[in-house]
């Protein structure tokens, strides 16, 4: 259903950081949404407050997890929900990461802060289909350790020397920080990938996306194999409200995930 929100029950709430919460949602009645692909988003409706676009951060068989940062009225209302509360969901909308594009290639996933949320289902899917890809890298940057979502999972990934090479870095270290310090792009030096035969997936603040994509391109990753997820204030998610325009791209329809071959020139223009 894409016109009307389908009622969902909040079955779990987990605080990720000081301003970020993951909510687990299951259909409240018989009606359920079509399955989501990693990278796609839903319009999440907080009764009486409003509706915002949120990517899926985990895709279960019946349940979906959305990770929300409280930055406005609707996101703050969603972050304040308790188990048992109801929200409405429309979706799935937009393009996904399309892991199949990485078949037979090394995979480089780069996340900035809460940008890890839409990338998490991609990483989980890549771990499930390890044989289809080359080496798998997950590089995460955050301002501080306290701004790192899914901290336990990230730490477990970083300390397991298995299928996934995971590195994490912060701008400002606090006591007990176990990872690197500096920009997320510095982690690319340690990552295990052959640039010419890699597919990259990048999500984070625009400035971080720009720096990471340029670095990857410089190392030899093809522009169309650098997939980035962009953000604008969508009101309808169905291509009609005009709010998510970025040049000729309607991000709710042609995005949020687009190739760097298309995104590069658009992100070069100030205030586009």
């Amino acid at each position: 259903m894409n016109d009307l929100p389908v009622p969902h029950l909040v079955t779990g709430v987990r605080r990720e950081t000081a301003d970020t919460v993951s909510i687990t949602l299951a259909p409240a009645g018989a009606e359920a949404l079509e399955p989501f692909a990693p990278g796609q988003f839903a319009m999440v409706y907080a009764f009486g407050v409003g509706e915002i676009p949120v990517s899926v951060s985990r895709i279960g068989r019946r349940e979906l997890v959305h990770t929300v940062r409280a930055v406005g009225a609707v996101s703050a209302a969603l972050c304040a929900l308790r188990p048992g509360a109801r929200v409405g969901l429309r979706g799935p909308f937009g393009t996904g990461w399309e892991l199949e594009r990485a078949r037979g290639r090394d995979v480089v996933v780069v996340a900035g802060g809460i940008g890890l949320a839409p990338l998490r289902p991609l990483v989980l899917a890549a771990l499930d289909t390890r044989r289809a890809h080359g080496r798998l890298n997950l590089l995460i940057g955050a301002r501080t350790r306290e701004d790192l979502p899914y901290a336990d999972q990230v730490r477990a990934w970083a300390h397991s020397h298995g299928a996934l090479h995971c590195g994490a870095t912060v701008d400002r270290p606090s006591p007990g920080w176990w990872g690197h310090v500096g920009l997320v792009t510095t982690l690319l030096n340690e990552a295990r990938f052959v640039p010419e035969n890699s597919t990259a997936y990048v999500c984070g603040p625009e400035v971080m996306i720009r720096a990471t994509a340029r670095d990857l391109l410089h190392r030899g990753v093809r522009a169309d194999r650098i997939r980035v997820s962009l953000e604008r204030n969508m009101r309808c998610a169905t291509g009609h409200c005009g709010h998510c325009q970025l040049g000729g791209v309607l991000l709710c329809r042609d995005g949020p995930v687009i190739g760097w071959d298309r995104a590069a020139s658009l992100l070069d223009v100030r205030e586009l």
Binding site: P7, F47, G48, V49, C236, Q245, G247, G248, V269, L272
Partner: protein, 387 residues
């Protein structure tokens, strides 16, 4: 559209009969009326409501009604509204939501039923604008159901243009004063020694059926010729023209032009141009609750890319400057619209020029951007030859 459209001639009584027949068939007839010193589209109950004997004088930032001595009814140019007011209304309820005592949520759509419209006097520029909005609102993966219902249920009576205004430039946008398709009936007003009459052609089966119910006579050669001449002459009397260049490329190559600062110094970012534009479709949403707090409604209303909140993202607006907001509007209209919806978003109706409070002229801005680009290219060539 039928291949050999039936044609006839209506006189003034025939026009009255057209309105009566459409109303008798349960349609809400919308046509041009005179109100508040302008031609305003509103519901009409008889042909007497139409603006007989009124014309318009327009310029950049100026619109005046002027009386005409010839009694013409369709000799006015585009008013401040367009048909989107009815097909894509300024406010629309998307859904209602109820929260029960046990916290359960229920959401219901707004299926109060759509009116069955007949639009009388649709200009060829506005016919093209409707086709463009069709692609935007009903042509994609998620058609707007309300729009689609109103649109497919609407009966369109076009009025070919015989009196273009000083701000009109449809010919340079690939259009023109003739109505070729997309209508149920098309009228061409003829005023000469043989009297005040309308050449009428049908463009659909529904049109043919209505025409059969109207008192009319077969189209004679003199009326056909007079109608053709009037429309042909209108084609040569457009008040303005876009520069004859590929506007899509021009905009794409002008994103960093200095001209945006020039126009930003004049633009009030009031959004008038987006409100009067017959293709501008952007909307925002509002959440409304009643006093109990258990009943909420989601409303959609027209929005404008000139509003600073339009590009709001946590942390602030993406387009904070007037320069970037005017650039968004113009480049969307003339260029990125192609990527999004397969055509230009401009039909050359001239409304944005007429209703801009400071008289910013889209054709003049396009020409200035063209000149600036030409200057840039000359400069680059000179530098190359010097090297």
């Amino acid at each position: 559209m039928t291949k050999n459209p039936a044609a006839g001639v209506l006189d003034r009584d025939g026009l009255s009969a057209l309105v009566e027949v459409l109303i008798a068939r349960g349609r809400t007839v919308i046509g041009p009326t005179v109100r508040d010193g302008a031609i305003v589209l509103a519901e009409i109950t008889s042909a007497d409501d139409l603006p007989f004997g009124w014309g318009t004088q327009v310029e950049a930032g100026r619109y005046r009604l002027v009386p005409r001595t010839d009694g013409a009814v369709f000799a006015h140019t585009a008013g401040p509204q367009s048909w989107k007011t009815f097909l894509h209304p300024p406010r629309e309820r998307l859904w209602s939501a109820e929260r029960a005592q046990d916290g359960t949520l229920s959401v219901t759509g707004d299926d109060s039923g759509q009116p069955s419209y007949a639009f009388l006097g649709v200009r060829p520029c506005d016919l093209r604008a409707i086709t463009i909005q069709d692609r935007v609102l009903a042509g994609g993966r998620y058609p707007d159901q309300g729009y689609r219902e109103r649109r497919t249920g609407a009966f369109l009576v076009a009025a070919e243009c015989t009196e273009p205004g000083a701000t009109c430039f449809c010919v340079s946008m690939g259009g023109g004063p003739a109505a070729d398709s997309g209508f149920d009936l098309a009228l061409t007003e003829v005023l000469d020694g043989a009297g005040h009459r309308f050449l009428v052609r049908s463009g659909s089966e529904a049109g043919q059926e209505i025409l059969a119910d109207l008192p009319h006579r077969p189209a004679d050669a003199a009326t056909r010729d007079a109608a053709r001449v009037a429309v042909d002459e209108a084609r040569d009397r457009m008040g303005r023209a876009m520069p004859p260049v590929d506007l899509r490329t021009l905009m794409g190559e002008s994103l960093e032009a200095d001209r945006w600062d020039d126009v930003a110094a004049r633009c009030l970012t009031c959004g008038n141009c987006t409100m009067v534009c017959p293709t501008c479709f952007c909307t925002t949403t509002e959440e409304v609750t009643d006093l109990t707090g258990d009943h909420a409604e989601r409303w959609q209303r027209w929005d404008s890319c000139f509003d600073v909140d339009f590009s709001h993202l946590h942390g602030g607006p993406v387009r904070a400057s007037s320069r970037s907001r005017y650039r968004q509007w113009l480049t969307h209209k003339l260029s990125t619209w192609y990527e999004q919806f397969g055509s230009s978003g401009c039909v050359g109706c001239g409304r944005c020029v007429t209703w801009c409070p400071v008289g910013i002229d889209i054709t003049e801005e396009a020409r200035a951007l063209h000149d600036e680009r030409a200057g840039r290219l000359r400069h680059e060539q000179r530098k190359e030859t010097e090297q």
